[in-house]
């Protein structure tokens, strides 16, 4: 056994089953006697339901039941709850309209579930759904926030006049206005952040089950089974926790989209109770496009006040955020506390004011997608900085350096609530420029030009916030939950260890990294550590995995639980070694009496705890099994510098990212192999956002990118090799010094790519480009911008 502790590139424990085809995803699970659910969804963006005729469907072969919104209303089942409440500028709470499990009265987006058909086979359910007749009266629909705010726009909810969910602000407006009044120059940028579909490769799925005693089990594709148990049990179906088990087994990617409590989960569980048969539903990809929460979708204006030397004096931001047709679980938090609080970025801008209007539209609900708010803030800020460089003539890199929060300024209090604990932006910038051979770029540009290609380079120096969150802070900001994490460390009698964590791994490799943390602290080999997650019946509690919180919050809980194991182990060792507990040291898997060669191995202590023949039984319980809840003291603040180099084909407008370098400060690295993989994946999603991806709607709210045929996912030949480096400063307030790495790739990369494209198009007079920079968009610019060449 080589070194397997913190910092080792240990190969993943989970790979064996995945590579052999022995994963256990929800759709792989079949329960005896199960029926299949199929949802008849709205094909209208906005319409009143006049009549639903399910008689023919109910009589179709194999059909067991047909349910509509009326059945839920009759059962007194309310809607899906929202987990975060935002208050508007005037102190009023956000509009929080009901979100029924199945549509009642109206449909509000294409994909809104209207009828559920349950049948003996999947095909029978689907065939029967074809026989359902629904009469609609179409209502005016909107897809964009700008249209939804126009006077006379169709109202998505009567409870939200003007389609406004909330109108929120942060920062000191008067101070910002004063700074603008005295500024040497103001630079303004209008920009959008394109709407994305998360598209985890595993479509969502759920199986509900109810036994004779009324105990329910829900198998679901979730990033946080305890949160689903709480939301669905307490707020929707009124099933007490002890009678509701939620299992999230192997989950095929989440990226945020599997955080939320969805209608289908409630339906299969509720119907399982009605029918006393298991009810299974698996989304088809077309359903994913119109029912998984989407991401991003902002329209913003940003203005920076500058002094004569280009120092940032004040930032003013106004953003319209699309909520979609209903409030998804954490949607209200995303464009507020996960976005506007990040607008200081890595810069010492002294005053900032941001206002955010959240708007209902006839589109799929929008919620957190990899990065959640921070990519939107980063894109705005890093595009604005390049626009400032463009307008003032100050070099883009020099401008950033001039405004960096210096490495000796930590802890640093921003004007938008956050206090950064650590960071060193100059170091990550310098390392990234070196790794990307920034100095050699002019020669590469020249070589590309000789081949008829336009080459550009762009950087982004970003910062984000992870490890959500100190519960009291989150609560004060509107969270309706605590955001601590839980770990139970069970040392087995023979010295192996089972960790039960409230976080959930759906690609992140926790079964390996958490085991490495155990190996580091307890000296137990990784092969002797089993990490269990995703089952409310086995794990004490937990808030799950999102916002790159697993190692920062869940890992901290793990360390705290192991601290208790070691403390108890020392008392057992003191008894066995006939020494004072204060003299016992624990190191490298051994309990020793300080200054002597007397010691007991971890395994011997474990066995003694479970076979307590010679044991301080009067003062110490047997067993070696400890649980810790960890509430973080602050967010963590990963950051760094991404450098993108692009080449544009003049003939076709196709943009290729030819080099990509990411140097990130993610705090302590547990497993560098996994860290690199996380950054690769995040960067590919960021390149996808920058170049390819757009959740498309027509003006009235009809979805026009409803499959992989018309929503462009990055494929192997769309992304380059990605150079990943780390230059870490340690988090100062959690025991591992970790910050989190899950989202940095998707946060830092989009503006780097767009900055590179704008750089490449420098001679075409382009100051800004909204994403995605499709070849059509670039081709149009090239055509319009070169009339002289065309005439020749």
């Amino acid at each position: 056994m080589g070194f397997e502790g913190i910092g080792a590139a240990v190969k993943r424990k989970e790979d064996g089953r995945f590579l052999a085809g022995r994963g256990n995803y929800v759709d792989d699970i079949n329960r005896p006697g199960q029926v299949y659910a199929y949802f008849k969804r709205s094909d209208r963006p906005h319409a009143r339901i006049l009549r639903i005729d399910t008689a023919a469907a109910a009589a179709a072969p194999g059909v067991v039941a047909v349910y509509t919104g009326a059945d839920f209303a009759a059962d007194g089942i309310g809607g899906l709850p929202c987990g975060w409440q935002i208050h508007s500028k005037d102190g009023s709470p956000m509009a929080e309209p009901p979100h029924p499990v199945l549509a009642q009265g109206k449909v509000r987006h294409v994909g809104d579930p209207v009828v559920a058909v349950l049948a003996e086979t999947r095909q029978q359910a689907k065939d029967a759904a074809e026989l359902i007749e629904i009469d609609y009266e179409d209502l005016p629909g909107t897809a964009s926030v700008l249209d939804a705010l126009k006077p006379g726009a169709g109202l998505v909810h009567d409870e939200a006049p003007g389609n406004v969910c909330y109108d929120w602000q942060i920062g000191d407006r008067a101070a910002v206005d004063a700074a603008f009044a005295g500024a040497a120059r103001v630079v303004r940028l209008d920009l959008t952040n394109n709407r994305l579909v998360p598209n985890a490769m595993e479509p969502r799925a759920a199986i509900g089950e109810c036994d004779v005693a009324g105990n329910y089990t829900l198998y679901t594709t979730s990033q946080n089974p305890h949160v689903i148990r709480l939301l669905m049990g307490a707020f929707v179906l009124h099933i007490p926790e002890h009678q509701l088990r939620v299992v999230a087994p192997d989950v095929g990617g989440g990226f945020g989209s599997k955080i939320y409590h969805y209608a289908e989960e409630a339906l299969v569980t509720w119907a399982a109770g009605k029918l006393r048969r298991p009810v299974k539903w698996t989304a088809e990809r077309s359903e994913s496009f119109m029912s998984d929460a989407h991401g991003r979708d902002h329209v913003s204006t940003a203005e920076m006040a500058l002094d004569a030397e280009g120092h940032f004096l004040a930032l003013k931001v106004s953003t319209l955020a699309n909520m979609g047709a209903y409030l998804s679980t954490f949607a209200p938090a995303v464009p507020t506390y996960l976005y506007a609080t990040l607008l200081a970025g890595v810069y010492k801008t002294p005053v900032i004011y941001a206002e955010v209007k959240a708007v209902f539209t006839n589109t799929v609900p929008v919620d957190a997608y990899r990065g959640a708010g921070r990519p939107e803030a980063t894109f705005l800020l890093e595009r604005l900085v390049d626009a400032i460089a463009h307008d003032t003539g100050i070099d883009r890199i020099e401008l950033r350096r001039r405004n960096f929060i210096p490495a000796n300024a930590f802890p640093y209090q921003t004007p938008v609530a956050l206090q950064y604990d650590s960071g060193d932006y100059e170091t990550t910038l310098a390392a990234a420029l070196k790794a990307a051979d920034h100095a050699g770029f002019p020669a590469r540009r020249q070589a590309a030009a000789a081949q008829g290609k336009l080459r550009g380079i762009g950087i982004s120096t970003y910062l984000e916030a992870c490890g959500i969150a100190p519960s009291a802070v989150a609560g004060a900001l509107g969270a309706r939950a605590g955001l601590y994490e839980v770990a139970n460390v069970r040392v087995n009698p023979t010295g192996s260890v089972t960790v039960f964590t409230g976080t959930h791994s759906h690609g992140q490799g926790h079964e390996t990294t958490f085991a490495q943390v155990v190996a580091e602290q307890l000296g137990v080999p990784v092969s002797q550590v089993d990490v269990v997650h995703g089952d409310t019946a086995r794990i004490p509690f937990g808030m799950g995995t999102y916002g790159s919180r697993s190692i920062a919050v869940g890992g901290s809980a793990l360390v705290k639980a192991m601290d208790k194991i070691v403390a108890k182990g020392k008392r057992i060792a003191a008894h066995l070694l006939e020494a004072s507990v204060d003299d016992i040291e624990f190191k490298d898997g051994k309990f020793s009496v300080a200054g002597t060669d007397k010691s007991k191995t971890f395994g011997e202590i474990a066995l003694t705890a479970y076979v307590p023949h010679n044991y301080p039984i009067e003062e110490l319980e047997p067993g070696l099994d400890e649980t810790a809840f960890y509430d973080p003291k602050n967010f963590t603040f990963p950051g760094g510098c991404h450098v993108a180099e692009v080449e544009i084909d003049r003939e076709t407008g196709v943009v290729r990212v030819v080099n990509f370098t990411a140097v990130d400060d993610i705090g302590r690295v547990i497993n560098p192999m996994i860290v690199e993989g996380q950054v690769h994946g995040g960067v590919a999603q960021g390149i996808g956002q920058a170049l390819l991806e757009q959740a498309g709607y027509d003006d009235g709210g009809q979805i026009v990118s409803g499959s992989f045929m018309d929503y462009t996912m990055p494929r192997a030949d769309n992304v380059p090799n990605i150079h990943v480096g780390t230059e870490s400063t340690l988090c100062t307030h959690n025991p591992l010094g970790v910050k989190g790495v899950g989202e940095v790739g998707a946060i830092g990369s989009p503006p780097a790519v767009i900055n590179a494209i704008v750089d490449a198009l420098g001679t075409y007079g382009i100051r800004h480009l909204d994403m995605p920079a499709t070849s059509q968009k670039i081709w149009s610019i090239l055509q319009a911008g070169a009339p002289r060449m065309a005439a020749e």
Binding site: K11, R12, E14, D15, G16, R17, F18, L19, A20, G21, R22, G23, Y25, D27, D28, Q123, N199, A200, M201, E202, P203, D250, V251, G252, G253, F255, E284, R285, S286, H506, G507, Q508, G509, M673, I674, E676, G677, H680, G681, G682, V683, A684, Q685, S707, F708, M709, M713, P714, R715, A716, D717, V719, N721, I722, G745
Partner: protein, 165 residues
């Protein structure tokens, strides 16, 4: 209901299917081989790739009845009976070419076919273009490309020809 007889991972099966039943549905639902995944409904993602008579095939794009008499290999059929992994599986593990594992079976099956059919060697670009039919949302493809390149010499039992790079 019509019947189809096919050999999957060396074992012969005869199953009753509807005319519209897809090969992937037979594998997953009739034969319990859930290693082959379904990631889309438009033949775009490649999560369902298996080998049919030695060629990689999207099993969501083939009717079960079309597989009459066919030899099918799924991800479950790659490892030797003693558990020894196929070199491609081994290299995926070695190079961290999987995260959530959902696209992995299809990706591995496509990659094996790609390498097997290119005895002359593969450039990085050819690997990337060769995997164009398989979507992965986790890895950014970087490590998958490395794993496929690393599996080539193991599968062909010789060094990758220089000319290919």
């Amino acid at each position: 209901m019509p019947q189809v007889t096919l050999t999957v991972n060396g074992k012969r099966h005869t199953v009753a299917v509807e005319g519209r039943t897809l090969l992937v549905e037979v594998l997953r639902e009739k034969l319990g081989l859930t290693g082959t995944h379904i990631g889309c409904d438009t033949s775009q993602c490649g999560a369902c790739v298996v080998h049919v008579n030695g060629d990689s095939v999207k099993s969501c794009t083939m009717l079960a009845l079309q597989a009459e008499g066919a030899e099918v290999t799924t991800i479950e059929g790659l490892a030797k009976p003693d558990g020894t992994l196929h070199p491609m599986q081994e290299m995926f593990r070695e190079h961290h070419a999987l995260q959530c594992g959902y696209c992995t079976p299809g990706m591995v099956m496509s990659a094996i076919d790609l390498v097997a059919k290119h005895p002359e060697g593969l450039t990085e670009r050819e690997i990337r273009e060769g995997l164009d039919g398989n979507l992965c949302r986790c890895t950014g493809y970087h490590n998958i490309v490395k794993a496929v390149a690393a599996a080539w010499p193991l599968m062909h039992q010789k060094a990758m020809p220089q000319a290919a790079e």
